[in-house]
């Protein structure tokens, strides 16, 4: 494991808005930033931008910077106009950006002020999704961490909290599995602002995503305790993730096996369909989302792929302990990035499959390398048993395609 510094080709945390706003259905995300921020979200959201999305940018202009306009008054004006237009909004996130952080606009005070003004209809919170502080999925971490102090106090009974935005279909599958195991499970974030789960000394939480360092710390400050586990990717990862919770809540082994067996069998069957395409393939991961280590573990242990290099923007050694344990000995894990140096290593290694962002994918394809663009792994349901085959297919498809094309 080593750290690298230099040019980084990664998204900033604002990008998390694109999937978070779909998860919390009555929340609105207002970025306070520049035209660049608005342009980024537009580019990342693609066509989604037109379906009356629940996010927008308050663009800082020269009048704000020159002090001609009072920025707090301006922000209040923009928010008032927004809430008038969208009376269905219950939770408003003021999202900090690089410009707002650099000029030290105090969004936490603004959130407090606006919360008082808009109570009880709308609660206003703030977090930073700036590129200087957050990389891609860390935006979700910052958002969820801002929710934690607001969560109601749990009554004290032992409850499981599953943390990390999951696709609704995946969340429903996990809810059914936990119910069958006899574990009372709640999910953070909830789908609606007023149904957020409670937290307290009796709460045990299980991370569903590897990028939730600050959220975990905030939960621990409220007395909750983390259940150490690998992440629920692939048949094995899902089983061990569920088992960690089952062991904590003292579920009997035979009950655990009875509940998980049918889904586990289906997952293995779905994976088998892709194992031939992926077995022995040499894979290179560029850093993007912090999902790289668990994904590499899945590809290596369950699909038989070989790992050349696993890049990650940030490595939380505690949360990823079980995952790192599972990586084949000697796998180079690189935290951070020096883009041109990493591209040199990739070109020299000529991997069979390169997992990277959309800025690199086509240029590498043009050099004859097969790529899998990584952002899709955030927008597609990939966790749990029923999605294990889909996850394998995401990696197998580009290889399949390259084999099919004759021109």
């Amino acid at each position: 494991m080593r750290a690298e510094r230099g040019q980084r080709a990664v998204f900033c945390g604002l990008t998390g808005i694109v999937w978070l706003h779909r998860k919390i259905q009555d929340a609105f995300f207002l970025v306070v930033g520049s035209r660049t921020c608005a342009h980024l979200i537009q580019s990342a959201a693609g066509v989604m931008i037109f379906a009356e999305p629940r996010f927008a940018t308050a663009i800082i202009d020269e009048r704000d910077l020159a002090g001609l306009a009072d920025m707090n008054e301006e922000l209040d004006r923009v928010v008032t106009r927004l809430i008038e237009r969208r009376p269905d909004i219950r939770l408003l996130f003021l999202v900090g950006s690089c410009p707002s952080e650099v000029i030290k606009l105090d969004l936490s005070r603004a959130a407090l002020r606006l919360s008082q003004r808009l109570a009880p209809g709308v609660r206003v919170l703030n977090y930073s999704g700036s590129g200087i502080e957050t990389t891609f999925t860390q935006g979700e971490d910052a958002c969820l961490a801002s929710l934690v102090p607001e969560l109601p106090e749990a009554a004290g009974t032992d409850e499981l909290l599953v943390v990390g935005a999951l696709a609704d279909v995946v969340e429903d599958q996990f809810a059914r599995l936990f119910a069958d195991l006899g574990i009372a499970a709640r999910f953070l974030p909830a789908r609606r602002a007023r149904q957020m789960p409670a937290v307290g000394r009796g709460t045990r939480f299980l991370l569903a995503q590897p990028f939730l360092a600050d959220t975990a710390r905030a939960l621990e400050e409220r007395g909750a305790r983390r259940i150490a586990a690998p992440f629920p990717l692939g048949a094995e990862g899902t089983t061990e993730w569920l088992r960690a919770a089952a062991d904590t809540f003292a579920v009997a082994a035979d009950r655990f096996d009875a509940v998980t067996a049918p889904a586990l069998r289906r997952a293995r069957q779905a994976l088998a369909a892709h194992s031939e395409k992926l077995a022995g393939k040499r894979v290179f991961f560029f850093p993007d989302s912090q999902l790289e280590v668990p994904l590499a573990r899945f590809l290596s242990r369950e699909m038989g792929a070989a790992l050349i290099e696993v890049g990650t923007p940030y490595l939380h050694r505690g949360h990823l302990a079980a995952e790192i344990e599972w990586l084949p000995g000697g796998t180079p894990v690189v935290e951070g990035q020096s883009l041109d140096d990493q591209l040199d290593r990739c070109r020299t290694a000529r991997p069979d499959l390169t997992v990277c962002g959309l800025g690199l994918a086509n240029p590498l394809e043009a050099e004859g390398l097969t790529t899998k663009w990584s952002i899709e792994l955030l927008f597609t349901p990939i966790q749990g048993y029923e999605q294990a085959g889909d996850l394998a297919e995401l990696f197998a498809r580009p290889l399949d395609r390259r084999a099919r094309l004759e021109v």
Binding site: Q7, G13, S34, A44, T57, A58, I59, E133, L358, L360
Partner: protein, 530 residues
């Protein structure tokens, strides 16, 4: 502060990237925080470029702010020079780096590189993408075109010109260039340098050798052409050859500048548009209500094609390019309408609803607005999505461009014969309102409903945003329709029914009629005519 969901233009450094990416042998070092590399994917995905843009970002993070971001910048410039060995570099700051006030120009100069390093001042909180492209190109031309030299006498050699304006991520720039080269070639005019697209810094040093300049996209290249006019005494034309008339004027202007005869190029009906437009099937295009919005160059050109070459009626014209607002206002005034000059898509949406057009010609954004309102639409300007960087040859400019425009502007509409049959046999099972037109992939009943409702109601009940703009329309109550009048209204072909309903209701409102009867319907028809 401005509340924004959609932006027509990116920040100015994106414009600089469009120029840098268009060129060869030029490298851009951008002082920018981590995350600003998102811009790469505009080029690699939307335009499907096979190389990364020639841009190095410093991607500083919060932990660097306490230390020396200036040192990070200098290291990035030195490393980029060592790795890429460009002929020249441009350096500048993105919006956040502008706030931390390192001086990219001064820092790069201190490195004393053996190549020209051109600093860019792109005020990110004032200006936008097109301005950034124009300023960058102007700075490059200023720095690299050298000092005035004597051109060889015109006698005994071909006249020559530069083509200025095409960039990366430009709407149809690739194919426009092919068409314009074809015309210049046919006129016997040599092309000296095309820039920025495909030009190297060394090529910019040869700009002065040409006799004159051809500006294809004034938003990007007019400033540079004005500089070249002053410095090298090169006249320029910025007649934009979009449409048959404009292309003809372009050929005449270029021929005049070159001192050659335009007649051979203009002979023999070089475009099919005039005949297609005169053929009887196109009679049904007469007076079709069209709304045009885009960058100023395309909005103006397409408005002229739509009205003068296809016989549409212009009911709306606008641009997000404030720099060219005056020209767009003047063109709109010729049609008795007021131009929509805005970069807020909600204003554009409101203007489209108010104008109730039968065809919308705009950007990617208007495509979505039109889809929501159920109005046919074609894309004629950036910003655009990946499908508007087509694999096939699809110019807007020149005579082939006019052919492409005829198809593009007419296809979303009902073909004449089909429209006629629908009107004549509307009670027949094959041609009733619910039967889909053979070439449109959507259900006409939805179109009919949407067009009918559009003037009075927001398109989505759950979306309060657009409703802000139409509250005036609901202020006065409209009289109810008598059943027989309603029934008669259903007999009017669905594509004009919305207009008929709106006109009748307006007629009734103005006369404060308590009920809309059969009489009212036909009185209104006589009053408004068509």
């Amino acid at each position: 502060m401005q509340l924004t969901v959609w932006t027509y233009e990116g920040p100015p450094h994106i414009g600089a990237m469009r120029v840098a990416t268009a060129m060869e042998g030029l490298h851009y070092v951008l002082h920018a925080p981590q995350g600003d590399t998102y811009a790469d994917l505009l080029f690699t995905m939307i335009e499907r470029r096979a190389q990364r843009p020639p841009v190095t970002y410093t991607t500083f993070q919060a932990q660097d702010l306490g230390r020396d971001t200036a040192a990070i910048f200098k290291d990035a410039v030195a490393a980029a020079y060592a790795r890429f060995r460009p002929q020249a570099m441009i350096v500048g700051a993105s919006c956040t780096a502008e706030l931390i006030q390192d001086d990219p120009g001064g820092l790069a100069k201190a490195l004393d590189l053996p190549i020209p390093v051109i600093p860019l001042e792109l005020p990110a909180y004032q200006k936008k993408e097109n301005w950034g492209a124009s300023e960058t190109f102007y700075r490059l031309v200023r720095a690299l075109s050298g000092s005035p030299t004597e051109r060889s006498p015109r006698e005994g050699r071909r006249p020559s010109c530069n083509i200025l304006g095409p960039t990366a991520l430009g709407f149809r720039h690739r194919d426009d260039l092919i068409e314009v080269r074809k015309i210049l070639d046919a006129l016997g005019i040599a092309v000296n340098v095309v820039a920025p697209l495909g030009a190297s810094p060394a090529d910019l040093g040869r700009l002065g050798a040409a006799d004159f300049n051809v500006v294809l996209y004034p938003e990007v290249a007019r400033a540079a052409a004005q500089y070249l006019e002053k410095t090298f005494r090169q006249p320029f034309t910025d007649e934009v050859p979009i449409g048959v008339g404009a292309t003809t004027r372009f050929v005449e202007a270029v021929a005049a500048l070159a001192g050659v005869d335009p007649a051979p190029v203009l002979a023999d009906a070089p475009s099919r548009l005039p005949w297609y437009s005169r053929s009887v099937d196109s009679t049904y295009l007469t007076g079709k209500r069209v709304f045009v919005f885009g960058d100023a160059t395309h909005a103006l050109a397409i408005a002229r094609v739509a009205t003068r070459e296809l016989g549409f009626r212009l009911v709306g014209l606008g641009t997000y390019t404030r720099e060219f607002a005056r020209e767009v206002r003047a063109e709109a005034a010729l049609h008795g309408i007021e131009a929509t000059i805005t970069d807020d898509y909600l204003d554009v949406e409101a203007a489209i609803q108010a104008a109730a057009p039968e065809l919308v010609l705009g950007t990617q954004m208007e495509r979505h607005v039109a889809k929501r309102l159920g109005i046919p639409c074609a894309v004629i300007s950036a910003p655009i999505h990946v499908q508007d960087f087509p694999a096939r040859h699809s110019p807007q400019m020149g005579f082939e461009g006019a052919n492409v425009l005829f198809d593009t502007l007419v296809h979303p509409l009902m073909m004449g014969l089909e429209e006629h049959l629908l009107g004549m046999f509307r009670e027949d099972p094959e041609f009733h309102d619910g039967a889909a037109p053979s070439h449109l992939g959507r259900t006409p009943s939805r179109i009919a409903d949407a067009v009918e409702r559009a003037p009075n109601h927001p398109p989505l009940a759950s979306a309060p945003v657009p409703s802000l703009h139409v509250q005036g329309a609901d202020a006065v109550r409209t009289a109810p329709w008598a059943p027989d009048a309603e029934k008669e209204l259903r007999k009017i072909p669905f594509f004009v029914r919305g207009k008929a309903r709106a006109n009748t209701e307006r007629f009734a409102r103005e006369r404060q009629l308590p009920l809309i009867t059969l009489e009212t319907l036909y009185d209104a028809k006589a009053h408004f005519g068509r």
